[in-house]
Amino acid sequence: MTYFISGGAKNGKSTLAQDLAVALAGGGKHYYVATMISTGSEDDDRIRRHIADRDSMGFETVECFRNIMDCLKIADSGGVFLVDSVTALIQNSLFPVEKNYEMDLPAANRCADELVEFAHTVRHAVFVSDYIYSDAEAFSESTEMYRKCLADIDRRLAKVCDTVIEVSAGQFIIHKGDLRI
């Protein structure tokens, strides 16, 4: 089963995603795909706390910052993968820290293609993204490209995933499929 979850910040997406992943695993292998690139000691501390939280839920942490298919070099494709978040993977690819955040559109497209391939390849996956499309602002060209790239992969994942859920204030809007495991 594959799930795609999106919605606003701090609305309960990650909690739902973790619960789903644990339930899908039914005691079997479940991986947390860690997508955030640390930018300093504050991030390091936060990442350590998150890993400790997830250890108690039985997650194995697999680091992946860009190309998600790389996970399968070390993880079993028959397991459950919690990918939190699609947003971070696209951001890391589109604005690579190694290239001083200079926009790399081909890398973002490659990242998106791999996410779709990953959804088709693994047995179970839960993808978490962020809904950032309803503002009354004229954004810079690079921010607009970021919104467009993320929206494109959101739509592709929503198309291929079995279930699509929007989380709003902790409530679930089911756009496709259902929440039963």
Partner: protein, 120 residues
């Protein structure tokens, strides 16, 4: 009238094309403070509201022109309140117009990641 709303890049126009039989020739894309209602589908109404002081008044005065139209509006009113007064006004005008059009519509569809959520 059918109202289609949703965020940027969510597939609103694609939805109109795939499910309502709209072709490129049927689409008027707003980029001024006027709308050409002779086209069946009016797209990017938020670009019109950015350039008109009284969008609801404008739609009321052209009421007979859009009764059978497909109207597409980006929900720019859901996000952060903008710092600039002009964008704040744009956000409010657009939100109020969305309410007005939604009341008038036979069907309201919200598009989320390419999927339709029927609101009315």
């Amino acid at each position: 009238m059918i109202l289609i709303i949703g965020g940027a890049y969510q597939g609103k126009l694609t939805f109109a094309k795939e499910t309502l039989g709209i072709t490129d020739g049927d689409v008027y894309t707003c980029d001024t403070g006027e709308i050409d209602f002779s086209k069946r589908c009016i797209y990017k109404i938020e670009e019109f509201t950015a350039r008109h002081d009284d969008p609801i008044g404008y739609f009321e005065s052209h009421r007979e022109d859009w009764q059978d139209s497909i109207l597409i509006l980006q929900d720019i009113f859901c996000g952060v309140v903008p710092m600039g007064a002009e964008n704040r006004a744009w956000r409010q005008k657009t939100g109020r117009l969305a309410q007005y059009l939604s009341k008038e519509a036979q069907q309201v569809s919200r598009i989320f990641c390419g999927l339709e959520q029927r609101l009315k």
